[in-house]
Amino acid sequence: MGCGCKTPEWITGSRFTKAGLIPVVSTELTGKDKRGEIMVRLGIKRMHYTVAPGIYAVGTPGENSDVFVTANYKLTFDMLRGELHGLSAWILVLDTCGINVWCAAGKGTFGTGELIARIAKVRLKEIVSHNRLILPQLGAVGVSAHTVTRETGFKVLYGPVRASDIPAYIADNYQKAPQMREVTFSFSDRLELTPLEIVISLKYCLIAVVLIVVANLLRYQRFDLSLFNGVLPFIGAVLTGAFLVPLLLPLIPFRAFSLKGFALGLAGTIALIVLSRAGLADSIIYLCFLPAISSFFAMNFTGSSTFTSMAGVKLEVGIATPLIIISVAGGVVMELLKTLRVI
């Protein structure tokens, strides 16, 4: 004690074992837990939403109880403990620097070495008398099951991809139905991810709004609402890439995300030109800037998707990025010419 740190309110007690006292955690998520989820979905303090690595208990587990292994991202930890309601089990939390299981496994922090070290550190062999660990299936990207068994004696069972399938998995005697193995990317999965995409794009929006306003101030030499000309089309282009493309993903043709973004951005830009009856110069400026911007933000959604290979993303980034830069540069040149009243 005397460390000044407060015990989190989701720790409700402790359980005595041969390896010492182990904190018992609640399986009921509180309003505070849910508010925390909304915050991280909006990208607020997302990188500091962690729980301390180590071992925890739910219910009243004993030496025969299951051990579930997870990441120390609190959102992940909360999903798991919420699904263990009514069960007695141990939760072994690896140090993944507050990153979710799949991404952490991709980087190797949810990995073989960390799991082996954590088993020793919490003295798991003194807590349980069996040798089974249940890992989320997506942890397999970072964990080599046979290596863990060779080094520690613990056998790794890969459970379902989604924590919500755990009760059914246990009820079915640790048999994984085929659909429990599949990563999905449904409309609601995608909708959940878009607030973060939008928040991340806000930073670019702010910079662009300042640039657009300053450019218009130089051009018109007076301060009125016309300074904000160009801001709305720009924001529309960003939202097309960061919000509409993710939502409509399977409905837009092309495999490359940048092409999906370009196509939807182009459709929006043509609609804008027709509806606003833009002149030739403005039309060219719109066509240079807007589809390219949508394309860029759509391309960034590859990182949130569940099916893109690195080789494919490298190919796409390598081709699209120079084209996006050229297109935007062309738009900047057109703007300059317009400001200098050349066109």
Binding site: T109, L138, R181, V183, F307, T308, S309
Partner: protein, 99 residues
């Protein structure tokens, strides 16, 4: 709903001589790319393979080869700009949609 992407699964190769048909690769594959046929793992749907590498890492017979890495434009761009491998960092990185 299953999605295909560019170059998916191009680097995935199974060595039929080494494969013992244990099935762990099928257990860890998130996109049902593999199947056991006549006691050997076979690729049945290359198009859906995102090259995550879970099968290679967990194959006790070392029978699978695949070039895995993060399929994230932000990470790839980061890698190009910093001259390092594509990565979204574990170092308090707060920007980027990756992970």
């Amino acid at each position: 709903m299953r999605y295909a992407y560019l170059k998916n699964g191009e680097s995935l190769v199974i060595d039929g001589n080494k494969c013992t048909g244990c099935g762990i690769c099928i257990d860890v594959c998130p996109h049902s790319v593999l199947e056991i046929t006549e006691g050997k793992a076979m690729i049945i749907d290359k198009n859906y393979c995102m090259e995550c590498g879970a099968c290679r890492l967990n194959c006790p017979a070392d029978a699978i080869a695949v070039n895995s890495g993060v399929g994230c434009a932000y990470a790839v761009l980061n890698g190009i700009i910093s001259g390092k491998n594509a990565s979204c960092g574990c170092d308090g990185d707060t920007s980027g949609g990756c992970c």
